[in-house]
């Protein structure tokens, strides 16, 4: 299968400080990848490089011909609750996601407004479309920003710590929506998160960074890797694997155990 994105020998430096070193990763259509790592490991830097917000110091990121920049959806980490005075309605915010497909002067048609309603209905926030974004809860605001990210039918969706402002119930619902986007709509998803439990539970692959790639592959590969047992210790490796299997099975390279 042809890859959607090919990250080759990517290094990024801030001054003399190397944040990412010699990253080699291939991402395929339909992948759902959790990007994890300790603070300062380069997760957000890698994501920004993929989005074109940071230029590599060395190496390159190649996109397949059918994934143009315009077909990338992005859900940023910051939440807009920091500026409750910003005068924007939900439908106005979501409309921004369609701009990349519009030619100058970027005016919207009735078809665009129908598409906005369709996405809002899918995320169960259609009734909020005329509400001011600053008056919504953190979870509702993240759904609005997800609607903005997916309204343009992206092939690739990049999310940076999307659930940091959510309570556990809303967080579960949010991950269910992402799962549906991945399985039904075949959207490739890159999810940066500290939420190890949900990463392990929902994503198909894990990219563990600590300035370089420590591990990239499926959970099955991770759980059976003796290198990872050595790197993380058996207990931590076991925790990842247990979460991924939804608590039904835990297995490490030292042997599988049915619980």
């Amino acid at each position: 299968m042809n890859s959607l994105m090919n990250i080759e020998d990517l290094s990024i430096q801030y001054g003399s400080h190397e944040v990412l070193s010699k990253i080699h990763v291939q991402i395929y259509p339909g992948d759902y990848i959790g990007i994890v790592g300790p603070n300062g490991s380069g997760k957000t830097t890698l994501m920004k490089a993929i989005l074109g917000l940071i230029s590599p110091s060395h190496g390159k990121i190649e996109f397949s011909s059918h994934l143009k920049k315009k077909r990338i959806g992005y859900l940023p980490q910051k939440n807009i609750m920091s500026d409750p005075l910003f005068p924007a309605k939900v439908k106005e915010i979501v409309s921004i996601g369609l701009l990349s497909q519009k030619k100058f002067p970027h005016f919207f048609s009735q078809k665009d407004y129908d598409r906005i309603d369709e996405v809002l209905a899918r995320l169960e926030i259609l009734d909020l479309k005329n509400n001011k974004i600053g008056n919504l809860s953190g979870g509702q605001q993240q759904r609005v920003l997800l609607a903005r990210a997916i309204v343009g039918n992206p092939s690739l969706l990049v999310l940076d710590e999307p659930t940091s402002a959510m309570d556990p119930k809303i967080r579960e619902e949010f991950y269910q929506i992402l799962k549906e986007l991945n399985t039904k709509d075949k959207v490739t998803i890159l999810l940066v998160s500290h939420d190890m439990g949900s990463i392990g539970k929902y994503t198909q692959k894990m990219l563990y960074l600590d300035r370089k790639v420590i591990f990239y592959g499926t959970y099955d590969e991770f759980c059976k890797s003796s290198e990872m047992t050595q790197y993380f210790g058996q207990f931590t490796q076991h925790q990842f694997c247990w979460r991924h299997s939804d608590g039904k099975c835990c297995w490490t390279h030292s042997g599988s155990t049915q619980v």
Binding site: K69, P87, I96, N130, N131
Partner: protein, 275 residues
């Protein structure tokens, strides 16, 4: 009441009042259209900074016996680019960059007027605004440039909104955020240069700030903020011109005073409506 209507009708017989109403309303529209982007991008002080620069540019124009409007537009635009570059390249915070450029330009203006002498009265009329001296050429240029500002904002509205809300996201989806920031700087420079004739270099930034902040008290959406701030802005200019004529007050200060009253009123409405 009849007396007030009579005085307004009498005011409309004067050519300079008609010019002030026309130019003032157009500038009010430009300021409110730009104000929403500048205030929400936390760049509202750029209006104040560029107004200080326009003081220096007027001093240069008077020294050269040239049109203050035509000299101001390129100088103020250049200053706005310097502010953006200091912010981008030198890593200065926006407020520091504005402070550096505006105080340096104002000092230049004071030095020029001090050394040249002879045109301090003219310069004072630009400091506080003077609707009496709006020439026909000023009117023509104002109509043309206001049209450029208003139509540019109309055509770039959705892009400017996207950048104002979330510049990083706008970058990701391929919008040219850098060009748009320079476009806002150019339009602001033109508007400031046009506005100093009516309200003066010391008060022009209030036309950018007040109507938007007033509208923000009650509006829910971006478009409604734009509509409310435009209505408030134009009303304050029109009413300010008449009040200043009737009571023999300076027009610029009267317009700003009315804007301040509207802000307090809208603030009270917001508080009252929240119960």
């Amino acid at each position: 009441m009849e007396n007030a209507v009579g005085l307004i009708l009498e005011a409309l017989k004067y050519d300079f009042i008609l010019k002030a109403l026309l130019v003032g309303s157009l500038i009010a529209l430009c300021c409110s259209f730009l104000g929403i982007f500048l205030v929400l991008k936390k760049l509202s002080l750029i209006g104040d900074g560029l107004a200080h620069v326009s003081f220096a540019s007027v001093a240069i124009a008077l020294l050269l016996s040239a049109s203050p409007l035509l000299v101001s537009i390129p100088i103020v635009t250049l200053a706005s680019f310097v502010i953006l570059k200091l912010n981008e390249k030198a890593g200065l915070h926006g407020d520091s960059a504005i402070g550096l450029v505006s105080s340096f330009a104002f000092a230049c203006g004071v030095l020029i007027s001090s050394m040249a002498g002879g045109f301090n009265v003219d310069l004072m009329s630009y400091l506080f605004g003077s609707i009496l001296v709006i020439s026909n050429m000023d009117v023509t240029i104002s109509i043309a440039l206001s049209g450029v500002v208003i139509f540019t904002i109309f055509f770039f509205y959705n892009t400017l909104f996207a950048i104002t809300y979330d510049e990083e996201f706008a970058n990701v989806i391929g919008l040219n955020t850098k060009s748009m920031n320079y476009l806002i700087a150019i339009l602001t420079s033109i508007t400031i240069s046009l506005g100093i004739r009516v309200v003066g270099t010391l008060l022009i930034s209030s036309l950018i700030l007040f109507p938007t902040v007033t509208a923000l008290q009650v509006s829910k959406g971006f478009q409604s903020t734009l509509v409310i701030s435009s209505l408030v802005s134009v009303f304050c200019v029109v009413a300010g011109v008449f009040v200043s004529f009737i009571h023999n007050l300076p027009a610029g200060a009267t317009i700003v005073f009315l804007n301040a009253i509207f802000f307090v009123l809208f603030f009270i409405i917001k508080k009252y409506s929240k119960g």
